[in-house]
């Protein structure tokens, strides 16, 4: 048993390290213009992102991402509640919402460019609007699947409307809201990159596309690496937040599965 655990640990860490080492050495003398040596890529990574463009591009991109996502999250949950709790509102906007979420979010970027221009507002608006739908739809689903028993409890114990919304519906719908938020975060990340690639000369996406268009393969790889790392880290951070907010849910599900 113990041997197996050690073997798994060795394999689990060894293979990725081996892959990186293989990349390093196999690419070391690469003359292929599109697959430069890993060493060059890392060097450019350091030169580009850690100093030169950190503030002007990296922070800018991340700021847009989080601002857009935050707007989407708050608006999505709020409108989700309004929609779920007031049926006429739901009937009125349901078909529109479903139509709008059918549109690939990136396809909205050209429209926003034509309407609001190319500045930070456009990027944040695009991110916020595209990321809004998954959260909103998940919130509506979450609220509508809250058990009637819980709502009966809340009424019998005469909880106020505010208490019912904040202390019963919101936490009960939280697992589904978080699933929606996770999708929203992915969408926000994609639209962040797309909005920079389509209508901007600033940001990580714009820098990466520019590197590709001027055939600076090492710079492009550095951009891809940075975007990959950001995608990974943002996901990890979100996972930590989810673990904290939904510890009761994760715990109860683990228990249910073990049973």
């Amino acid at each position: 048993m113990r041997n197996l655990a050690i073997r798994n640990l060795v394999i689990g860490t060894g293979i990725p390290v081996l892959l990186l080492v293989a990349w390093w050495f196999l690419s070391a003398n690469s003359a292929d213009p599109f697959f430069p040596p890993l060493e060059t890529i890392l060097l450019r990574f350091q030169e580009l992102w850690l100093f030169d463009h950190f503030q002007s591009d990296v922070l800018l991109s991340l700021g847009n991402l989080f601002l857009g996502f935050a707007i989407a999250a708050v608006a999505g949950v709020a409108l989700g509640f309004a929609t779920a709790l007031v049926p006429p509102v739901r009937w009125m906007i349901d078909p529109l919402i479903h139509f709008l979420r059918g549109i690939p979010p990136v396809a909205l970027v050209p429209i926003f460019i034509s309407l609001i221009g190319f500045g930070t507002q456009m990027r944040v608006t695009s991110i916020a609007l595209a990321a809004f739908f998954p959260t909103m739809i998940a919130t509506v689903d979450g609220i509508r699947s809250v058990s009637n028993d819980l709502m009966d409890v809340a009424r019998v114990y005469r909880l106020s409307r505010k208490e019912r919304v904040l202390n019963v519906l919101l936490p009960a719908a939280m697992p589904q809201i978080f699933s929606g938020l996770q999708v929203s975060l992915q969408v926000a990340f994609i639209v962040m990159i797309a909005s920079e690639m389509l209508g901007s000369s600033q940001g990580i996406g714009a820098m990466t596309l520019l590197a590709q268009q001027s055939f600076m393969a090492a710079d492009m790889w550095a951009g891809i690496l940075l975007l990959g790392v950001i995608g990974f880290l943002v996901n990890i951070l979100f996972g930590l937040l989810r673990g904290k907010v939904l510890s009761w849910y994760i715990g109860s599900r683990r228990l249910a599965r073990a049973a």
Partner: protein, 257 residues
């Protein structure tokens, strides 16, 4: 009876209201010529629908999306079975899969365009990249979630490993794979459009880029409407397919989260 009419009436009111607001906003000329009137857009849509170029773009988009989805499904399930069935393989791939999972295909789009050019192959590659990992991960979860009792039962009846895989593990992983496909199918469409829009791959995405670059806003809106309808159809179709394939599995909704 009165109650059941209400929702539809209100839905109609909602759609009509949105169209009216659109028309008024465009008439008010708030955004210059960038917001064409709803009537103009629908007229443009009608004329676009009558051109052969539109249908061949649509065909290119659907062809790339569906072919790539099929390849990603077959390869993803196969890889998922492999990774899920053998512990060493699972540990060997865990780090790479976990790193790549949250990386959307748009990140590697510049590389794909650089190497493959603005081609259908580039779009195809990106869609496979985008759809493969979720399918692999869900299949692995499904294999892991297969009831050990069912496995032991099968083994006690003298089934071989391969037979167990095909008769026990794969069917019990089906709900997970179904979930993955329901997510992957609309994603395939989205990635195809992104590859066209940002990478110049053939299809509706490229048409949108050209409409924007040429300042042909009526076509731009018309194409986005087409994409919205297409997205709805994709979602509906995958839901229907999932229900058909998984009708035997009462609890398939349970694994959605």
């Amino acid at each position: 009876m009165k109650v059941s009419i209400h929702p539809y009436a209100l839905s109609a009111v909602g759609i009509a209201g949105a169209l009216v607001i659109w028309q008024i906003l465009s008439a008010a000329n708030l955004a210059g010529n960038a917001l064409p009137a709803a009537t103009t857009v629908f007229a443009t849509l009608a004329s676009i629908l009558g051109t052969g170029a539109f249908w061949s773009s649509l065909g290119a988009t659907l062809g790339v999306a569906l072919l790539a989805l099929a390849v990603a499904a077959v390869a993803g399930v196969a890889l998922g079975l492999l990774v899920g069935s053998f512990e060493p393989v699972r540990y060997a791939t865990a780090a790479v899969l976990e790193f790549l999972k949250p990386v959307p295909p748009i990140v590697i789009l510049p590389l794909a365009v650089l190497v493959l050019g603005p081609t259908a192959e580039m779009s195809f590659f990106l869609v496979v990249f985008g759809c493969l990992l979720p399918i692999v991960m869900q299949t692995v979860d499904g294999v892991q979630g297969a009831d050990p009792v069912a496995r032991d039962t099968a083994r006690s009846y003298g089934m071989g490993e391969g037979e167990i895989l095909a008769r026990v593990v794969l069917p019990s992983a089906m709900p997970y794979i179904g979930t993955a496909m329901r997510v992957a199918a609309p994603a395939a469409l989205v990635v195809t459009v992104v590859a066209g829009l940002l990478g110049g791959g053939p299809g509706l995405g490229q048409n949108i880029y050209q409409a924007q670059a040429a300042g042909d806003y009526a076509s731009l809106y018309a194409l986005v409407i087409v994409l919205g309808v297409l997205g709805l159809l994709f979602q509906a179709a995958t839901r229907l397919a999932e229900r058909r394939v998984l009708h035997w599995h009462e609890s398939y909704r349970e694994v959605v989260h």
